[in-house]
């Protein structure tokens, strides 16, 4: 199915061999170049910066040494930020997955105007995440936000009171930011699972029906195991996206008060404004975590290939 390099009956001269082996570079070279400049080199610069003493204006202070990692380690807010990041990732990713499994099943049913309903599902994916976050911030306004207006009408919250100030209370702010993060993660996850559902052949379901399995039993024993590759891929991508999520927290609370609603990503961003080296150290720690996830993902995809064969 693929054309091999032209097979030569004689061994060509060295220049010709070099030219032949370099030919792929003509096609894939620009792609490698772009990756090198935009993705790989920043990693090198980042790691280097994490060991340097950098002034606010971005210049390296000559002749000074610093240990950004130690400074970061002794940052009083760090423990809380890391703990919050773990909660943030685990809650958002797992709730997204559970809801998406249900949504994928629902939108896989045959019903009139299914296509229109599916298209509506895309909205939070198409709109910029920062805009969605801002809409929620607006709707949570203690005096006039739609959420509070409705809750006020139901007698649950008094407009303008402290309880209506959701984003001013770190716990509730985190709750609402998780709601937004789940909301914007649902479309991609649901679509990934929908495409996974479509790879399951009808015959499998027929066989299970012949064997007398009920709907729930069929779902647990047939659908869920066959969906596992799609679930793994979607989960891994969600972990990376949610871990690196910046706009939601930035637009809703700016990570405050203090660092009380910050994750490692917003913490890194706030540090960057005054302590560039320390921020770089935070990024490197973030980065190592992301690499762990990538390795997990690579194993998952290999596992997927083994299954589909």
């Amino acid at each position: 199915m693929t054309t091999e390099q032209p097979r030569l009956s004689y061994r060509p001269a060295l220049p010709a061999r070099v030219a032949l082996s370099l030919r792929p570079l003509l096609w894939i070279g620009p792609a490698i170049g772009l990756i090198a400049v935009v993705v790989l080199w920043p990693v090198v610069v980042l790691v280097k910066a994490s060991f340097q003493n950098i002034a606010v204006d971005g210049f390296v202070e000559p002749g000074t040494t610093t240990n950004n990692y130690s400074t970061l380690w002794h940052e009083p807010a760090l423990a809380g930020v890391v703990f919050r990041t773990c909660i943030w990732v685990v809650v958002v990713v797992s709730v997204t997955l559970v809801l998406s499994l249900a949504l994928a099943q629902l939108f896989n049913q045959r019903f009139p105007f299914r296509r229109a309903a599916r298209t509506a599902l895309i909205a939070p994916w198409a709109a910029s995440v920062m805009m969605t976050a801002l809409i929620f911030r607006w709707a949570l306004d203690p005096y006039s936000g739609a959420v509070n207006v409705i809750l006020h009408a139901l007698g649950l919250v008094k407009l303008g009171s402290n309880t209506a100030d959701w984003l001013g209370t770190p716990g509730w702010a985190l709750f609402w930011m998780m709601v937004v993060a789940i909301f914007v993660s649902l479309p991609f996850t649901t679509y990934a699972l929908l495409s996974g559902l479509q790879t399951i052949p009808d015959e499998v379901y027929e066989a299970s029906r012949v064997d007398g399995a009920g709907t729930w039993r069929t779902y647990l024993s047939i659908t869920l195991p066959l969906l596992r590759p799609a679930i793994l891929v979607a989960t891994t991508i969600n972990v990376i996206n949610v871990f690196n999520s910046f706009p939601i927290i930035w637009e809703m609370t700016r990570g405050g008060p203090g660092y009380e609603t910050s994750t490692t990503t917003t913490f890194m961003f706030i540090l960057k404004q005054s302590f560039i080296g320390e921020s770089a150290a935070m990024s490197v720690m973030n980065f190592l975590l992301v690499i762990v996830v990538v390795l997990f993902f690579l194993r998952a995809t290999r596992w997927k290939e083994a299954v589909s064969e």
Partner: protein, 293 residues
Amino acid sequence: MSTVSTPVDVAPAVPARKRPARRRTITRRGFIFSVIAYAVAALFLLPYAEMIIAALRPANQLLAPNLLPSHFSFHNFTSIWSTGFGGNLVESLEIAGGATILVLLVAVPAAYYSARHRFRGRSLFLLLVLATQMLQPAAMLVGIQREFTSFSLPPTLSLILVNAGFNMAFAVWILNAYFSSIPVELEEAAMIDGSSRLGALGRVTLPLAAPGIVTALIFTFIAAWNEFIVALTLSLGSSHQPLTVAIDSYIGQYSVDWGHLFAASVIATIPVIILFAVIEGRVVGGLTAGSIK
């Protein structure tokens, strides 16, 4: 191509031999499903409806505690142009358009060659692309900022490069799957008929891969259009700021210009909706083809 075909329904069709009573329960089940599905769809649109309502609120009712204002006003949409919003729109168009063109120029040859040829380093290259896909600019923001500041490029150009670099991986993957699914015999037939290799590529393969190319490019455009954290970092203090940064700047230290903020958001979302409508049917298939994202 095959993965992009119409969705296969997993729900078993109603067998004709079933008794009418059974058939009626299934219909009722279908009815309940469709009602829930429409409710979910409405729930997903609700925040964006609120965004439009907020943008259309008259100035004196902006902070009124009601769900709908007494009347709508377009003043936010007319006065926004005096805040320099037109320039932000052009800037976003340049960045997203530039990144899309760059991805087209770089990803198509790479995807085509790695789909058609087995060369040394091919799997290493595909692994590199996959690894890129897993990385996010937010994770290496300090590195990106320091590197591109040292280049002293204009922010527009830097943002084109960064957006192209981080979105190319997805384009290469999805196009690799597309090119692999096009039989090489079609190209060979064209070459027997007298086409050159490049002629066969241009006249046979690229048109067949067009749906995949369009999907990959639209995904790139939307991602670059909506990108926020790198734009916020690289266009800081510059007079050339894209839409997302401009929208963020309506948030002041003590007050927020909500009217203009949401008018800007509505205008910024319109191109995305149009583009997503173009590829709607292919989103599911595109995901399978790329296996990721």
